[in-house]
């Protein structure tokens, strides 16, 4: 009970601030609540399948399989798989973090996890179609091409900068986190 309270502390504080807002600036309160509610609906629509698939992946995919597919020596195959996983996913960027955690636990390299996150944020196929419809094909294609290089660049540079010790710590942390 006490632990639950502590975990929800920030949320309760923000609820309190919303309460203050209600008395101080009612219009802003109504606008904020509406927008928070809309975001929540969107989250509720998108998240359940992501978490169900995560649970299934956790139960069915053996660690050795994941290490082989996306681990340090997975090469081009791992990179392509990471791109595919991220592009096929649905949901906002922060929904990618639990997925990243599961991949790390199962032995995926951090580089491939970063590629997955990058793809999740920018190369989702339905989103690209949507982007093309509102921003035009030139804008979309240009951004897509630059992004592929950017995602790879960010992943490779991060792995280089972090080095072996820190990468090990990231894996260690992923395994020990109680999520």
């Amino acid at each position: 009970m006490k632990k639950t309270f502590k975990r929800y502390r920030l949320f309760l504080i923000m609820l309190g601030l919303y309460g203050v807002l209600y008395f101080v600036e009612q219009n802003l309160f109504i606008a904020s609540t509406t927008k928070a509610y809309n975001s929540m609906i969107e989250m509720v629509l998108v998240l359940p399948p992501v978490f169900i698939l995560l649970g299934l992946l956790d139960v069915w995919v053996k660690r050795e399989t994941m290490v082989k597919a996306m681990g340090n020596d997975s090469g081009l195959m791992g990179i392509l798989l990471a791109f595919f996983l991220g592009s096929a996913a649905a949901g906002p960027l922060y929904a990618a973090f639990p997925v990243a955690l599961t991949l790390l636990r199962k032995g995926s390299s951090f580089k491939n996890v970063l590629i997955m996150i990058g793809a999740w944020s920018t190369t989702k196929i339905p989103l690209l179609l949507f982007e093309a419809a509102s921003m035009g094909l030139t804008f979309t294609v240009t951004r897509f091409l630059i992004n592929i290089f950017g995602i790879l660049g960010i992943a490779f540079i991060s792995e280089k900068v972090l080095g072996h010790k820190e990468l090990d710590e990231i894996h260690e942390r992923a395994i020990q986190l109680e999520i």
Partner: protein
């Protein structure tokens, strides 16, 4: 789009259930556990999004990052994009509307790119998952990269 994800999840669940009832139950338990574990952060983020989106109206944004705002506008657009969390299905029509009402391509490219890749609001969550250094590094690199995207888009879409 959402339906596809549900369809895949249900088909996968069906196959899993057919193969092993216990493992499927275990998977669902894990799914719920990981969801409940980040629920507090999700709820806090939702309230924050609601508030931030309410103070920053599209009109305000377009007055700040118009086509003539140059690198100052690009920087501002990048910072706005890093802070705000707008889903893509809202962001792209918003971006199109902003361009029609005078925002520049360079600024909009910076805004969209940071919006998608940099998350200041979600950084505590990212730190919890990957550690401080990795989280700051990823967001920092993504921010620099977004400026680069803006530069290239600015040249190409003149």
């Amino acid at each position: 789009m959402d339906n596809t994800a549900y369809l895949i999840a249900f088909v996968a669940l069906g196959i899993s259930f057919f193969k092993s009832k216990e493992k499927t139950l275990q998977a669902l338990k894990k799914a719920w556990k990981s969801f409940e574990n980040i629920l507090p952060q999700f709820l806090s983020i939702l309230l924050l999004i609601g508030f931030v989106l309410s103070i920053l109206t599209p009109q305000q944004i377009s007055s700040l990052i118009g086509g003539d705002s140059g690198w100052w506008g690009v920087m501002l657009a990048s910072i706005l994009g890093s802070i705000t969390l707008i889903p893509g299905f809202i962001a792209f029509p918003l971006a199109a509307a902003l361009i029609q009402s005078g925002a520049g391509y360079m600024q909009i490219a910076a805004f969209i790119s940071t919006l998608m890749m940099v998350g200041i609001v979600t950084i505590p969550m990212e730190i919890k998952f990957f550690g401080k250094k990795a989280a700051y590094l990823r967001n920092g690199l993504a921010f620099i990269f977004s400026l680069l995207v803006a530069l290239i888009m600015g040249v190409i879409l003149k």
